[in-house]
């Protein structure tokens, strides 16, 4: 079974704190993604990575950074959390090859910033 694991299901942080969201996949996929899910807005891409140490900005990268030191791990970092970053964060990895590759998602991390 394919597995994408997000380290925390629920987090509560204070404004200004640094937040780390960890994601690990066991499928040896090169491509990994971080999305943010908000009601009425669907999933919006924050960052994606197509190889170790490689990253590309998605549609809403402001206020976020990422780290991909190992192939299986892709971390999302909120340098200074703000209340407008309260959201559900979804990590995914993708089967390689052509553009019909399937995304495999983690269970999500629900972040509340007070």
């Amino acid at each position: 079974d394919v597995k994408v694991t997000q380290s925390s299901r629920y987090l509560v942080k204070r404004t200004g704190e640094k937040v780390f969201l960890e994601c690990v996949q066991d499928m040896d996929h090169e491509n990994m993604f971080w999305y943010r899910q908000d009601p009425g807005l669907g999933l919006r891409l924050i960052y994606f990575s197509y190889d170790v140490k490689m990253k590309e900005k998605g549609d809403i990268p402001e206020g976020y950074s990422v780290s991909r030191e190992k192939k299986e791990r892709f971390s999302l970092i909120l340098e200074s959390a703000s209340t407008n970053q309260t959201s559900m964060y979804l990590c995914a990895s993708r089967t390689p090859g052509q553009g019909n590759g399937e995304l495999f998602f983690g269970e999500g991390s629900r972040l509340t910033v007070l």
Binding site: F33, L45, Q98, G99, L103, G106
Partner: protein, 116 residues
């Protein structure tokens, strides 16, 4: 710019009925792929069905089928003989280009409820 639009925020049908979820998209790429993903309540997102833009034949997966209208940039999902387990958020998604190393753009989703 690549966009995906789902104009139906919520839908509700009776069990065993057929339901169609709408999706339109826009892309400047000649080749691309389209997907429908399902997110059951409090559960992980999973792939329902996918379509390659260069294939004219509509994809089908058991009770799920798509109506792909390339010229109209429309990609609707039909669920036949709907079941209670089909209750979920459904997201239409677009992957532009040939490679899996590209972004996937999602629509805003349709919340589908199947009534017993």
């Amino acid at each position: 710019a690549q966009t995906v639009t789902q104009s139906q925020p919520e839908m509700s049908v009776q069990e065993a009925e057929t339901v169609t979820l709408s999706c339109t998209y826009d892309t400047s790429e000649n080749n691309y792929y389209l997907f429908w993903y399902k997110q059951p309540p409090s559960r992980q997102m999973i792939l329902v069905i996918r379509q390659e833009a260069y294939k004219q034949q509509n994809a089908t997966e058991n009770r799920f089928s798509v109506n792909f209208q390339k010229a109209a940039k429309s990609f609707s999902l039909k669920i036949s003989d709907s079941q209670l387990g089909d209750t979920a958020m459904y997201f239409c998604a677009l992957s532009p280009g040939y490679s899996s190393a590209s972004k996937i753009i999602f629509g805003s989703g349709t919340r589908l409820s199947i009534r017993p």
